[in-house]
Structures are given as structure tokens and as C-alpha cells.
Symmetry: C2
Subunit: 293 residues, 2 copies
């Protein structure tokens, strides 16, 4: 397979192989627990840069660990639930998402549940932000739609269920888009459930404002598919300028996530509380469905 196409269409080769390499790295990171970082410069002349992909952790942390003394810090295990890139990557590999974990759904721990719900809301927020950017970036949406359909079919050939959003909506409105996490600090479990409902509500309305779909059935291909890369990003603090199109998006949300997590951990813990209610389960299913597209 090698040898022939020497330095002529090197650019093309690089493009294709970049995707391939990225794919491999992603898979290896998610399938096993290895932490991998890839640093690279484009082959071409100018445009000095280094796009880099990472699996679970961030490239910077791996590089740092590498330089320091080979102790890549213990995996955070659970606090990257809101890393959208990872969710997408897992989805691509057909791996289960954290919110699909049975143990979580049956959990009776307020903290755990609130944390989960919050993470989910965070993911939804990001998803919508990204979709907004996407819509702004490419108005035509031509072939994208087709690709989306194919991807969908390939990923879940049998999922034809029309999952509707919960019809009941609370009238409470929570501004979870502002960066003020103080609003979450004194929340209690019951409130969280409402928060969840609110999120569903907000999410729904946001979508209907973006694209005027009727009832937003998830089996219908989205007009603004999220064809974003899963785990390649450019670190903003390194002055990267190279952008392989969709491959250089930086969702940079880590800090916000961490703060949110901290805020949520202060929720009171009543051991006798019930597990996620039906709406919550619908919610996670919904998220799953959404990422399926």
C-alpha cells in the first residue's frame, strides 16, 4: 500500500492519514485506559503549527507529565462527564455513555444524581452552542445532511423508535447558561429534578428557535448535524493557528465544568431519597438519542 505515491500528492495523503491517525489514537484512548497525546506539525512549508489530538486527558497534562517525571496523574475517572468530545468519540465507537450506566440510574445518592443531572445539562448547553455555531458557519447544509443520515443508519440501524420529549414542562426557569455557578450552590435534590425538567424545556425551545422543526422527533435527521471532531483540539494557550477545518475546535469548558461540579458537591445528602424518576430516565435516553444523530 505504500511506496508509490511519493511526494506528489503528499498533501492529500497527509489529510487522509491525519484522519486515520486521529481515529486510531481516539480509539486506543477510549478502548483502553491509555492516555495518549499526539503532537504534530503539518508537512507543508509555512503555517507552522501543531494540531494535536488527545484521548481522555488533555494534551497539556500528558506533555507536562511526560516532562515532569512520567506520572500522568491518576485518571479523573469521573469528572470528565461533560467533555463533549469524549462523548462524541465514545458514540462513534459504539461505547456506552456514562449516563447510560445502570448503576447511575439506580443510584440513590443525591450527590451522584445531582452531579449527573448537572453534567447532562452542561452537555446539552454545549451541544446547543455548538449547533448554533455550526448553523452560523455553514448555511447551505447541502451534503452534510446526507452524510448525517448515513452515519445515523450505520450507528443504529434498528433504532426507529420515535422518542418524544417529555410533554410536561415546568414553569420554573433557570438561567443555566450564565456563568454564575452560585445559583447552584444551595440547590437541593427536589430542586434538581425541577432543574432537569427545566432543561428539557429550555432545550426544546432552543431547538425550535434554531431550526423550525415541528415536534423535534429525534429519529429525524437534524438540519445542523454535529459533524464536529471528537477529541482533537487546539490549545488556545499555545498560540496555535493551524486548523484542519473541523479538527481544531476547542470546546474549552473544563474550568466551567469543574466549578459546576464543585458547586453540586455541596448539595445535601439524604440517604433515603428515591432514585432518578421516570423523567430523568427519559432525559438520559434523550441525550443518548441526541448524540446518536
Amino acid at each position: 500500500m505504500e511506496r508509490i505515491t511519493k511526494r506528489e500528492s503528499a498533501a492529500t495523503t497527509f489529510t487522509k492519514r491525519s484522519y486515520g491517525l486521529h481515529s486510531k489514537v481516539s480509539q486506543l484512548c477510549l478502548l483502553t485506559d491509555a492516555q495518549i497525546a499526539v503532537l504534530a506539525t503539518p508537512p507543508s512549508s509555512h503555517s507552522n503549527v501543531s494540531f494535536f489530538s488527545f484521548g481522555h486527558s488533555s494534551v497539556d497534562s500528558i506533555v507536562t507529565a511526560f516532562l515532569t517525571g512520567e506520572r500522568p496523574a491518576v485518571r479523573e475517572e469521573i469528572d470528565d462527564h461533560e467533555a463533549f468530545g469524549i462523548c462524541l468519540a465514545r458514540k462513534e465507537l459504539g461505547l456506552p455513555q456514562w449516563w447510560e450506566d445502570d448503576a447511575l440510574l439506580k443510584s440513590k445518592s443525591p450527590q451522584e444524581l445531582s452531579h449527573a443531572i448537572n453534567s447532562m445539562s452542561s452537555l446539552l448547553t454545549k451541544i446547543n452552542e455548538l449547533r448554533a455555531e455550526d448553523a452560523e458557519a455553514e448555511p447551505p447544509l447541502k451534503k452534510q445532511k446526507k452524510k448525517n443520515e448515513e452515519t445515523m443508519k450505520k450507528t443504529e440501524p434498528t433504532v426507529e423508535q420515535t422518542l418524544l420529549l417529555p410533554s410536561d414542562s415546568s414553569d420554573k426557569t433557570l438561567d443555566y447558561n450564565n456563568n454564575n455557578n452560585d445559583s447552584l450552590e444551595e440547590i437541593d435534590f427536589d430542586q434538581l429534578i425541577d432543574l432537569d425538567l427545566d432543561l428539557d424545556f429550555d432545550f426544546e425551545s432552543m431547538n425550535s428557535s434554531d431550526n423550525n422543526d415541528e415536534t423535534m422527533k429525534m429519529t429525524e435527521p437534524l438540519d445542523q448535524p454535529l459533524l464536529l471532531p471528537y477529541d482533537i483540539c487546539a490549545s488556545p494557550d499555545n498560540n496555535n493557528t493551524y486548523s484542519t477545518g473541523e479538527m481544531s475546535l476547542d470546546y474549552g469548558i473544563d474550568k466551567q465544568l469543574q466549578e459546576t461540579t464543585i458547586a453540586m458537591s455541596s448539595v445535601a445528602c439524604d440517604d433515603g431519597v428515591s432514585a432518578l424518576n421516570e423523567d430523568d430516565i427519559n432525559f438520559s435516553d434523550y441525550l443518548t438519542q441526541f448524540l446518536q444523530s
Copy 2:
């Protein structure tokens, strides 16, 4: 192809994919001029480490460049001729080796030629050192032989020529294995040719002392095949302890090479000198053949 084999035989998966990933990176580095570095930790529990592969440059230089300001230093272009790992990688990809370059063979520049010859001698030295280590490491050599034959056939199905070493040998003996580069500082072009012959001689005798082959025909599978990895190595200055078997060899020869190069550059330049003589060409063919195995 994904999804199923979850965390059960993760170890096996990691092993296989590591090779795959490494292969991809190598190819991408050699096919295009991209400089790629991969930092990774093994998935398993203990054994904290980070094996890493690199293409053309060293991982450290890329990491440094990455941290500094995205200017991976211009490729050295020509001074990595003696990077055995790169030669192996190129061979694996069927790419031509630097000493097979027509321009070099027809060159009339003493410096260039002496440099080339010296690089070649250096490579030979390394090859023999590695073979020695190999022989010491695995006395049985069972299935290895078979694999070697296959690889050979695959790489050069038609190369059946029996390339013999030049039968003429000089009586000059140069201790090119010592780390004293001073001995090269005042060498002149004629001397270099002799040096080359000496190298051939030394090489031959070294081989016959290692394994008692008869005349060392290169078409015959070597008893101690060099199944070493091409461009994965563990940086000794980073306290790496992880070793994926053959994947963590560090040929650490950069410094020596650089010094040798510097020494050679002081050779006088007589523009009217002839190009590489027949022996030299045989020499390069020999090298090619050797790496072919």
C-alpha cells in the same frame, strides 16, 4: 469493528493497536514531512511510563517546540542519515534510502562523499551492535526465521541477486568503534575510501565471528534478524521504565553522529576528485541488501 470486546482483553487490544498506531505515525512522518510525536502511558495499572514513538525528529524536540512556541525547528534534512530507526522505517515502507540517492553516487564533493561513507560506516556499526544484543537476548531464534523470510519476500520479491562483499580488503585498520572522533579529524578523501574498505572488512569478520556463516551471502536469511522496532524508543533521561519488548530500544547515537559529522566536515575539499568508486557502490548496495533482510 468496535464496541464488543470491552474491557476484557484490553491488554491484548492495546498491544495490537499500539503497533498499529506506531505504524501509522511512522508512515505519516516518513511519507510526508510532518513531525509527529506521540506520548502515551500504558493502559494498565502499575508500570507508570510513557513509551513514545517519533518520526523524523526526536520526541523531545517536538515537545519542546510545542511548549515553546510552535516552531519545531527546521528539519535537519540531512544529518539523520545515521538514524538507524529511520532507515528501518523507510525500508519498511519501501521508500528509498539516502545512500541510494543517485545524486550522491554521482557526487564529486569530497565532503559529501566522506560524510556519506562515514554515515554508512556508522550505520553498520550500529547494526552489528544491535545484532550482538539480539543474539544475546534470544538464543532460540525459532519462528523468527520464518517471519524474516516472509518479510524479505514481501519487500523485494524479485531481488534474488547474491551480493557478495568486496573480496579485496585493506590492511589498514581503523578503530571506528571507539568514541574518539579525533581520529577522523585529519582524514582526507583517499583515506576515506580506505576507511570504507576497512569497514567492509571489519563488518564481514564481525559477522563471521557472531554466527559461523560461510561467505555471508545476503540473500540468505540472517540467523539473527533485526526485528527491532524502527522509531519507537524510550528516552533514557526521562526515567522511562516501560518496555513493550522490542518497542523500547534506545539507539541513542545522536551525539556521536553529530560529532562524527563535525569531524568529517573538516575534510579538505578538492573539486576535481572522482565520485564514489565501484567499491563504494557495492558498499551501498550491500547496506541496502542488509537492511532488506
